[in-house]
């Protein structure tokens, strides 16, 4: 990937495409699973797999990697990729997928045609039902690789025919490592707090992180915290951190100052409460107090989700946090 940056076309690509891993080594996160898949890429005979996980952790990338390495040059004829933008009704399963499975493609031994069903949880149940026996009958020639966000939406018989691999969110360090790598390739000016801010906004989603990085770089050039938060406009975690510290110190006036400022800036209460929670998760206060804080935040979040999203509710949250701190 980064080898041919010089290519003019590629410079206009979004970075998520430009730096999409083509080798297993470059895939960040979920190392154990990815490493095992890399074995299959060389040895062949991969079983049917389902990769489930949140967005932006590399499910599709992993599957495409596998297919590319496994099939090499015959990728085009031996891979059928269907995602949610393709029609995947019962008819398609009964005709298109079956036709593909019946096709004869000369492949080296131990290699199979691959049907990639991206976003498989958006397939209708009927289509999945129609798929189940097909998966089995043609297993000697065709393997299936499914990617989905939630495994619950995949019907039991399909799950039963696949090995379920669960991907989790990337850790912050993993995202950060990749960001540094990309920043170096792009020769960006970056500061630590800038990258950290991107990591914070990414929330374990590599795609989001890269997008934010690119936006900041193209918008402002330098990657520092200020610019990052200009691009991804969120309630500033530093402010919120300070606010929570004020609450922990039972100083509601100072805490309210910050909240009022954020409110004046026009952030939605959902954003504010979300960032309060994420900051509170990491904040360095007494664990018991933190537990109480999280509970109060959860209650307020519930109210906000229900539609009671006024400044009053957030102020009440501050008051409750202060009370909890006082009791403590």
């Amino acid at each position: 990937m980064p080898e041919e940056i010089a290519d003019d076309k590629r410079s206009h690509l979004p970075w998520i495409e430009k730096y999409r891993p083509a080798k297993f080594k470059e895939i960040v996160g979920n190392e154990d699973t990815v490493a095992r898949l890399s074995v299959f890429a060389t040895q062949g005979n991969a079983p049917n797999i389902i990769i489930a996980g949140p967005p932006g952790v590399g499910k599709t990338t992993t599957i495409q990697c596998l297919a590319r390495i496994l099939l090499g040059d015959s990728y085009k004829e031996a891979v059928l990729e269907l995602n949610a933008s393709n029609e995947r009704g019962i008819d398609v399963v009964r005709n298109k997928i079956k036709m593909f499975a019946q096709q004869k493609v000369t492949l080296p031994r131990g290699r199979h045609k691959i049907v990639i069903l991206d976003e498989a949880d958006s397939m209708t149940e009927g289509a999945q039902q129609a798929l189940r026996r097909t998966m089995e009958i043609y297993s000697s020639t065709t393997r299936f690789a499914l990617a989905c966000n939630t495994s619950e939406k995949i019907i039991e018989p399909i799950q039963s025919r696949c090995a379920m691999l669960r991907f989790t969110k990337l850790s912050d360090a993993q995202v950060l490592a990749k960001l540094i790598e990309v920043a170096k390739w792009e020769k960006l000016n970056y500061t630590e707090d800038g990258l950290e801010a991107i990591v914070f906004t990414a929330q374990g989603d590599m795609r989001q992180g890269l997008n934010n990085l690119q936006s900041t770089a193209q918008g402002f050039g330098d990657i520092n915290a200020e610019n990052v938060f200009k691009v991804c406009d969120e309630p500033h975690p530093k402010l919120l951190e300070e606010m929570i510290h004020h609450c922990a110190a039972n100083d509601i006036h100072k805490a309210y100052k910050i909240l009022a400022k954020l409110w004046k800036l026009g952030y939605s209460p959902e954003d504010i409460i979300g960032n309060i929670f994420r900051v509170c998760k990491r904040i360095n206060i007494d664990e018991h107090l933190k537990l109480d804080f999280i509970r109060e935040i959860g209650i307020t979040h519930m109210k906000i989700v229900d539609g009671i999203n006024s400044l009053l509710q957030l102020t009440a949250l501050l008051a409750k946090l202060c009370i909890a701190a006082e009791k403590h």
């Binding site: 190392e31 074995v39 062949g44 009927g126 000697s140 799950q159 490592a177 004046k264 989700v305």
Partner: protein, 1153 residues
Amino acid sequence: MTDVNCLTSEHIATATTASPPGTPAKNAGKDLDEPTSPFVLRAPPSAKSKLILQNMEEVLHSVKQKHREKHKRKREEKRRAALLEDQKKSSQEAGRPEKEKPQPLREKSSQENGLKNGRRRSSPLKSSTPVADNQSIMKHFAKAGKPENLAASPVNTAKAKPATNVFEFMMNARNRSIGVNEGGAESPADPEVASEAATPTTKRKLLLQEWNERKGGAKRRLADESRGEYIEVQMEQRAKRLRKMLTKTDQKEVMAPSSAPTDSTVKRTRGRPRSRRLSSVDAQPQVVVEAKSQNPETEEFLSKLSSPTKKRDSLLGYFAKVESPKELTEKVTIAIETPPMETPKRRTQRRKSQAETPIIEAEFTPSSRPRRSCAGKARYDYDLETSPVKQQKTKLQKAEESIEVIDLDSSSAAATPKKLAPLFVRQLPKPSPDPSVLKARQAFLQSGVPDKIRQEQNRQKNYEQMYEESYEVFPRLAHIGCESFASSNEPLQLPFALRSEEEYVEVATTLPFNKRRSKTSSITSCLPADFTSSKSFNKFNYATLPQLENKRGFVKLWKNDFDRFPTFKCYNQMREKYRHFSAIDSAQDTQQMGESLVVTRRTRRSMEQNMAQTDEEAKPPPSAPNGELLFTEKYKPLLFEQVLVNLTPVQELKEFLSAWSGNGGSNRNSQGMDDTFDMSNDSASMGANSNTMVLVGPSSSGKTNAVFTLANDMNFNVLEINAGMKRTGKKLIQELQEATQSHQIRKDSKTGGGSSQQLLQKLQKSGLKAKAAAVEPPSEVRKSLILIEDADILFDNLDAGFTDAIYTLAASSKRPVIVVATDPNCAHLQRLMQQNVVHFQPPNALNISRFLAVLSLMENCPIELDELISLYLYNQQNLRKTLMELQFYIQSGGDPSGAKTGGIKSPTKSSHSRLATVDGSRIHQRFFEFFTSPQNIQHRIPFPLDFNLLRLNLTELMSSSPLLKEQAPGAGSRNTAKRKSRSPKKAWLSSATGQKNDGYSSSLATLASFYDNISMAALMESDCSDRLQWHLSEDIAHLLVEQALQTGLAAKECPYNLFDKPAHRVTICEHLGNGVMRSASAKSLDFEPTLRSICRSEKERAGQERKSSRFYHYLRNHTVNVTSFTMEYFDAACSSFQTIPNSEPPTEAEPKD
């Protein structure tokens, strides 16, 4: 007074000659000078205001007291009749000379006359009432001269006011219904006017009389006359009484007593409810006088309508209409309109209505129209525009004058007393005729109308439509309240001091924003080291596993552990297969393809013998180190003897099939035998449906495999129908017709695609050919078997007739039909299921773990039993999935790290000891961990929080909590013992009461806060039902629980049990989605019983009918998850009401070998 006169004269002019349409505008211009001009604006004759009026009218109707009204009206009718009698006589005398003039038109016009009144009321356009009202007001002002005085000093008592108010509405409404234009005509100053006005009325009266006589009303008249006399007497008495009362109450009212009798009659003929008893007596007569005074006007108007000039008038109306569109548009744009513009428009509208009336007139009989409907409409206006006090005052002044006129005019209205009866009796307005009928009439009558006029009309209509469309129902600018809102912005006066918002903001902006971070970041979990070291992740190095040399040694060691499991048998089988496939692989390398070999018992025997001598190790070919088959295919049984688990149902199936294949051997070859067998079979004790068998069981319990195994073993061809094929009823029958009706199928007959079974057989054959000699001739006759897979899945729109086809097949087939279904409560298979069912169940965990252990050994990767069991249970006893994952794990290199270190111990701590190992090799671990634990982030609890699991784990967590142990009061030993029991709270409950004061030292408090947190987390978690989105609340709940476990209980070391899921309890609510009904109680009250009863009835019905998913379609609308609605949830719920008959546990495989 001047303009009143002007108006009246004008009206007369219109009655006799066609007056120029400009005059009303002039009048209105005068109105503009008056202070009450805003009134004109207030009542535009739009549809909206009409609606409002109607609403108001309803309210007023409810106000009035009907029972009293009725009571009164009867009396009044009588009185009125008498009065009219008198008046008739006088008017006849007066009106005779004029009668001849309008003679030619009389017949028609008289008919139209009454109609016009009626028609006008229901005509869609507003009648001229506003003008009339306006005029009447003007008149009052003119006469009173000083309205402000009157308003300031109310003459009447406060008590009388409301009563008179109501009465006035009614009177005014009545006037309007008659069609009064203005109320000033009663003026005695110009008697000529009155007499002139009388001429048309007398004309009409005569006509009515004539009519009456035609109908043979002579007798009736006699009766009426006598009645009239009686009433007259009564009236006299009444007048006296009234006079008495009046003189008693007020001096002023004495002037009016003479009018009292007539007033009351008029008033009551209209049937208006009067609050006579409520109102003070002094108020009443005045109002009556007023109402009376307007009477002549009504008569005038009527006469005008019936006059010969009317036609021309209406034509003029058409001309006037041309300008009305402009006004309409003006009205939209200009908020405040000047009255002179308004008035002509109304005028034209009224004229138009006049013009329209002849269209419908023909149908109606005169006087049959009740006059109230329109009256009601108009009342509202009146209420607002005139204060009753003023009117009373003005009336007082001219009360005497008006009396004479009344006598004159009112007679005309009642020319035919007999005819009047329905007028009074009927209360409800006649329902407006059917619009279609109206249209037809209109079309008929319009046929004579010149084109020009019609075009005008159309244009008018278009404009009206445009107007209505462009009219905003909700005005964009609502100025009401804005000002007050703006003005209320002043700061609140609080008893205590608050800091202002600005202060906060000011201070907050000065916050140090970009201070250099100290050492560790607090907003993310990134460490400073991460910034410097670019890559520090340890990549695992996986490679294929080396061949194990001493597998047999393992098996010998394990044999002792695996009691009751046919270890050696299993091992031998697997070894055979393993070797076999390795052999195939190597054989295929050299392009040796064997053909037409069948694995039967015999061949297998010989093969076995041959194999026994070969060396143990058959290396897989280097090109495909992993082979090219799935474990599920590779290790599936091919013969009945190879079936190791789930034996009982397979045995049943075998019995069923063996009845079809006779002696079961493959050596039967005569067609005749086959036929006789079938015939004997048909005549035997088995029922008509004995050719079908239903296999029911959860997925991956081996249903399909059992069929293929037996088919292979007993030499059947399998015709498979599955959900991946088009399987409409027609196609199904077509394809299988031949198969079902003939007795043999060629081996190469088309089956449903290249079945894996056949492929496998091919592979096996080729391998066998390489090794051993073929025994069976390829031309062997095989019987066929129909396998219908996924029969419980029904795509409504695509698989039409599928169920019917199954039943047809079952009824007519001469081949065994095996139906495979997952759902035991499948509605459309119920009838089949009542006959032959085999229930499959997932295999026993212990057995399967041993099977898996041997298998993994075979694959050179021995895995701990615990791990296998754990994963198997975690997968909810899904063998196929476990096999898949096992393959994934083994073929990707197993556990790379030195296995001896025990990572996370499996919580199923187990009686199973570690498997013995032969020295030099190791047992792989972390199998279970790989598939369950998250890899990037350190969670202890799996992310989608499962509270069922948590509940199970709570006991263990609590018992291992050091925090609770520390805080445990009293004797430690006793409490630890108790804590191990399920409910340790009780012990603390008793003790904790003593030391409740300290929040954090009491174990009860700790526990309470823990439970508090958990329940709060559960509440948050339950909020989100759709997991496709990212849910913050879920995140919060998860963290809360984890945090609570860590800090609240400090249970750090305790393992978290993952796989021990309880039997899933199915509730209907779970599957209905939260969006439909939010509260759980509503759901349980509303949804559940209904759905349950629906399910029950559906199931009952399904037993008798074939098509049975009718009501489920309705249910589909109630689920949020539209795409995935099946009956399975409901059936699963229903299954709790039934006990599945299959109670036999899965047998523990065969005895040891």
